[in-house]
Every structure is written in C-alpha cells, then in structure tokens.
C-alpha cells in the first residue's frame, strides 16, 4: 500500500498517480519538461496566428522582474506567459520554472510548487498553488487557487520569503 503524500489517502501497490488527488506518487524523473516544451510550442503558434492577423499592432508584453528582497538579486521573467515558483529537492519530479532553492527558501517555508505568475498583455497576476504556508501580497494573505492582480512595487511573500515585483512601464 502507498500513502499519497499530498492527500494522505491510501493507494494500491503499484499506483503511479494518486487516483484521489492526481499527485504523482513515485519519484521517477522525466515527465516535467514535457509540459514546458509543449507549452512553449503553443505560445509560438499562438504568436504566429496573431501576427498574421495584425502584424505589429500588438501591445508589447509586460516585462516582469522579481527582486529577492534579502539579497537584492533580480530575476527577469521572459519567454513564457506563465511561471511557476518554488524550490527543488532531491528526487523531485516536477521542477518549478523559477527555482528559489539557492536562497535558503526551504527555511523560509517555500513549497516545491508554491505559486505561479501569469503575464498577459495587459496585466500580471499571481496564483497560490495550494502551498503549505500560503502566499501574501503586501502582507495580505491571498486565497489559494485564485488569480490576484500584481502591480509594480508589490511585495509578495511565499511563506516568509519576500520578493518585490517590478513591472517597468
């Protein structure tokens, strides 16, 4: 018998995904990158479609920079519409787009897949992916699994880990 680490329900021997909550149960690596490359491809084809309709008329995508408050380091979010944020540990199968493990994020309570930032032409938003310690925007805790708008200068906390959002005009 296997106990799912996410929902604590029991699963029969040999199960690979939890049938109750969908979490992957074994530590075999491999799947992760499939989603990302697949996604990038989608973005590309979507771009081509739009360009064909209105070449050059599209507003430029928002540029978003994450500034780690503790160290002042900046991480630029480019090339995708969606970035998952979290940390990595040994044997982990799903790796976040933005890996905070070099910044002692574990001690600060960052989950492996903690939150995701979505960038569109008009807005930037944040969603907490049911993390253990939760996410706040400007010290106000946000509900999980819902999008919340982000503005230039907002400070988000993943657990106790603080990041400032910079959206240059």
């Amino acid at each position: 018998m296997i106990i799912c680490r996410a929902c604590k329900k029991s699963q029969p021997e040999g199960a690979i995904f939890c049938s109750e909550c969908g979490t992957k149960l074994t530590d075999t690596t491999g799947l992760v990158t499939q989603s990302l490359s697949h996604f990038l491809e989608d973005v590309k084809t979507a771009d081509i479609g739009l360009d064909a309709v209105s070449a050059g008329e599209r507003p430029a995508k928002k540029r978003v920079i994450l500034q780690i408050i503790k160290t002042g380091e900046q991480i630029s979010l480019v090339g995708q519409d969606d970035f998952t944020i979290g940390r990595t540990s040994e044997g982990q199968s799903i790796i976040p787009d933005i890996d905070l493990s070099p910044f002692d994020s574990y001690q600060e309570g960052v989950s492996r897949i903690h939150a995701s930032i979505k960038i569109s032409d008009t807005e930037v938003s944040l969603i907490d992916l049911s993390s253990i310690n939760g996410t706040s925007i400007n010290d106000i805790k946000i509900a999980p699994n819902q999008y919340h708008h982000l503005h230039d200068g907002d400070i988000i906390s993943l657990g106790k880990f603080k990041i400032q959002i910079l959206i240059p005009a």
Partner: protein
C-alpha cells in the same frame, strides 16, 4: 477456388491458432459439412474431406510445423505491441495495480495501399434550436464534404427534427446540383428526436455495409432527445455488430454529453464537442478526412483473465481520447488510422496472488479487426499478456510513455470522480478535486483550462452542480490534452 485454400483458410482460423482453437474450429466445420447433417451439401464430399485433412495436419504439432514451412510467409497485416509498467508482479496478499500501453498499428507498407472508400451517413439535426448561423454553417460544411468525396465514396444525408427526411440516399452516383439544392432548402423547425434520424441513417449505410468500406454514421446535434435513448443504444449495438460505427458531434451547450458518449462507445466511435458554432465546418470536415484515412476498422479485443485480475479501465489515447467501457469481456476500440497507432491504456487491479501461482494472466484473447483494403478483410491476432509473480522484484523505472499517458488520463478521471462526488452529494470532496485538477493543469501550463476548472469549483460550491458549459469544457478539454497538438494533424 477450393483447391487454392490452405488448411487454415479451410478451418477459418488464423495462422497463430492454438490447438484448442483448431479443435473447436474442426468440430464446427464437421457439423457444417457432414453429409448426414446437411443433406444439401451431400453432393460435395470434397469439402468434408478437406476439413478432415486440414485437421489431421494441424492438430499434430510435428506435421503442422512441416506444413507451415511449406506455406508462403504470411504478410504481417497488423502490428500489436505492448509496454508494461514493470516486468513482474509482486507476490503479495494485498491488491496491486498494473498498467499496460497497447499500440495497434498498420505495418509500414500499408501506406502504399490506396485508402479505403467510405460509406457514411451524415445525420443532421434541423430542430428549431439549429436556426440561423448554426444551420447555415452545417449547410456549408455539407456542401464542402460533398465536393471533397472521392469517386468511390458513398455518402447519404439525412435531416431530422421530429420528422425525418433523406436528402441524399446512399449512392456513389451524385447529382451535385440536386444535392446542393436540397441542402439549401433545409429549414430549422421542430423538436429533436435523435432515434428517427439515426434509424434513417442506419438504413442508408446498411444498404452498402460491406467490409470493403469504412461504414459510419455521423450524427450532428445540438439538443437533447427525450424518451428514445434506449432505442438509440439498441440501434448502436445492431450497427456495431454489422461493422457500422457511430460518431457524434455535439454543438453548443445543450446536448446530452453522457448520452452521446454512451452511444458512440458501443461501436468505438468518437464524441466531439464543438463549443463554438464557428468551428462546425472545421470539425465536420476534419472528421471526414479522418474517416477517409482509415487502415482498419471495427477493432475489438475479446479476452479472458485470471480470476484475481480485474480490468479497472481501458482508455483510448490515440487517435482520439475516450474511455472504452468493457461489455461482456469485449472491448471495442474503433479504428486504426493509416498513419498513426491506435493506443490504449489499461489499468488492471490484481488482488491477492495464489500461493502456488508463478505467473498471472492479465489478458488472453484475440484482437479482431477488418482491413477493408485487403482481399481477406477479417483479421485476427492472438494476444497474451502474462507476467511472472516474484516475491522480491527489483525496482524498475516506469517507461516514460506510460507516465505521460497516465498523467493525462489521471486528470480526466479527476473530473469524472468529481461528477460522481456531486451525484453522491459530497460537494466538498468535488470542490477539492476540481481545485486539485486546476493545480495540476496550471503546472502543465494549461492556464485557460485551469481557469475554467476553478470557475467550476466555485460554481459547484455555490449551486451544488456543474454548469452545462463548464462540465463539457472540462471533460473534453482534459481529453484533448492527450492528443498530439493540432498542428500535427495530417492534411491540415
């Protein structure tokens, strides 16, 4: 010519037949051919002798080997390959799961064979709700399909509401002007009585329902039928037994997805959700292109398993995604396209393995299918999925193809389970599942679908039910994740 038949053909069995199959085929043939039982055949003692001779040779393994060597090598007509998630079962008392991915595909030389002609009935809903753009788009799609047909194809068109009209009877002869005119005259009015439309379509397809054709009924509807569901399901069974498949295109939000899913599953057909009216033409013409590109149809698996084995589910992943419900130990898989495999994911639950058993039979049986382009259209291949049971197996890497397939089927099934939760009144559980589903979709980069799921989760906690559109969007959305991206669609 009787004299040209080999022993296998005389007994009507395949080259890989087991001794048991040879014996039962022999008994059957003896009954058919015996002069005492069938006086009408008494004038043909040759055929009875041939059966005797065939049995004598094939029932003796030594003689059979020699005989096989004398036959020309059999051309491989279908390739069946399987991957297991591990190479052995664990000998334990508690239940364990096992996964198998099966590919059934055309051999490489199949591409040289001319694609099979189709015999399709297009059954169009013209009830009041189709009024306006919907019916206009259906008309233009029908016109385009008529123009794209190959000379050998057979098309019939039936329009139905609470009345039924055959606009074009099944025929290779086509008067384009007349069809064009009849399509143009279609007007939306009346209710939706699907059985009437299906029955008329069935009658048209049946007239030419020969194994040399890909026989199919394509139903396009935007509404619910009331009271005649069972009639429809019975008709689908009758059709499936004649090798006629049924697929359904549901337009908009009102159509009954549970009913259409059940209807098409009987023959291994496809249910297609056309969310936006603008896409009617695209989906309909694409479906025709797929039908015109089929290598084998009516693919079924008949099987037996050891008593401790339960098939939890079978799920078709290619060429389209849909659950395959078993019926009386027969699984109907649908079609094998010319250029991609038919792929099925199986989940087996193996309960306590008996002390003495050294191996477990997960499935033993035959894949039967029809290849319209072949001289002998009925093909049958034996399959045996057997694994050893070991006390202490080593840990193994799960093949990536299985993980990928499972990760997607798991998402689809989360929605399925949420539907069951709601039916059972367990709203909190359903909401939790939908939220989990949304999280997994986000991780996979499917933010649009994830958003729909989250909206639905809210809906469910408020109204204790899924909304019509949300339910379909999630169900067919999670299914379509399994398919290769649209850009890979050949002929696009």
């Amino acid at each position: 010519m009787g004299s040209e038949k080999n022993h296998y053909q005389i007994l009507d069995i395949s080259r890989d037949a087991t001794q048991e199959e040879i014996r039962s085929a022999y008994r059957r043939k003896v009954r058919e051919h015996h002069p005492d039982a069938q006086p009408s055949l008494a004038g043909d003692p040759g055929s009875f002798l041939a059966v005797q001779q065939a049995f004598e040779t094939l029932s003796n393994p030594e003689k059979r080997k020699l005989y096989d060597a004398s036959l020309p090598a059999e051309e491989e007509l279908i390739q069946v390959s399987t991957i297991f998630n591990r190479s052995s079962l664990i000998k334990i008392k508690e239940p364990q799961l096992l996964f198998i991915l099966m590919d059934i595909q055309a051999p490489p030389q199949a591409k040289k064979i001319a694609p099979s002609p189709i015999n399709v009935a297009l059954v169009l809903d013209q009830s009041t709700s189709m009024k306006g753009t919907r019916l206009d788009l259906v008309k233009s799609a029908a016109r385009r399909i008529v123009n794209q047909l190959r000379p050998q194809d057979i098309l019939s068109i039936v329009a139905f509401s609470d009345k039924t009209r055959v606009i074009q009877p099944a025929s290779t002869q086509r008067d384009f002007h007349k069809i064009e005119h009849n399509i143009q005259m279609l007007q939306a009015s009346g209710g939706t009585e699907i059985y009437k439309g299906l029955a008329a379509g069935f009658d048209e397809v049946k007239r030419y329902a020969h194994p040399k054709y890909v026989n199919h009924i394509l139903l396009l509807t935007d509404g619910r039928t009331y009271g005649d569901e069972d009639l429809c399901l019975n008709l689908a069974k009758k059709a499936a037994n004649l090798g006629i498949g049924i697929s359904g295109l549901g337009v908009g939000l009102e159509w009954n997805d549970q009913f259409i899913d059940r209807l098409v599953a009987i023959s291994g057909g496809e249910a297609i959700f056309v969310e936006s009216t603008r896409k009617i033409e695209e989906f309909l013409t694409q479906k025709f292109r797929r039908l015109a590109n089929i290598y084998a149809h009516n693919v079924q698996l008949t099987y037996t398993s050891d008593p401790e084995v339960t098939l939890n589910y079978a799920f078709r992943i290619l060429p389209d995604a849909a659950p395959v419900p078993p019926e009386n130990d027969v699984l109907r898989f649908g079609n094998v396209p010319v250029d991609r495999p038919l792929r099925i994911l199986f989940e087996f639950l193996v309960s306590s393995i008996p002390e003495k058993a050294n191996e477990v039979v997960l499935m033993k049986g035959r894949v039967n299918l029809i290849i319209p382009g072949m001289e002998q259209t009925q093909i049958s291949q034996r399959i045996e999925l057997v694994l050893p049971a070991i006390i202490n197996p080593t840990r193994e890497q799960v093949p990536e193809d299985i993980i990928t397939a499972l990760s997607q089927v798991t998402l689809y099934r989360l929605h399925e389970k949420a539907v069951v939760d709601i039916d059972n009144g367990d709203i909190d559980m359903a909401v939790e599942r939908l939220e989990n589903l949304a999280t997994h979709l986000l991780i996979q980069g499917q933010s649009e679908l994830a958003r729909s799921v989250l909206i639905e989760a809210k809906n469910v906690s408020k109204t204790h039910a899924l909304s019509l559109d949300g339910n379909k969007r999630i169900k067919y959305g999670t299914r379509s994740l399994m398919l290769p991206s649209q850009s890979e669609d050949p002929g696009k």
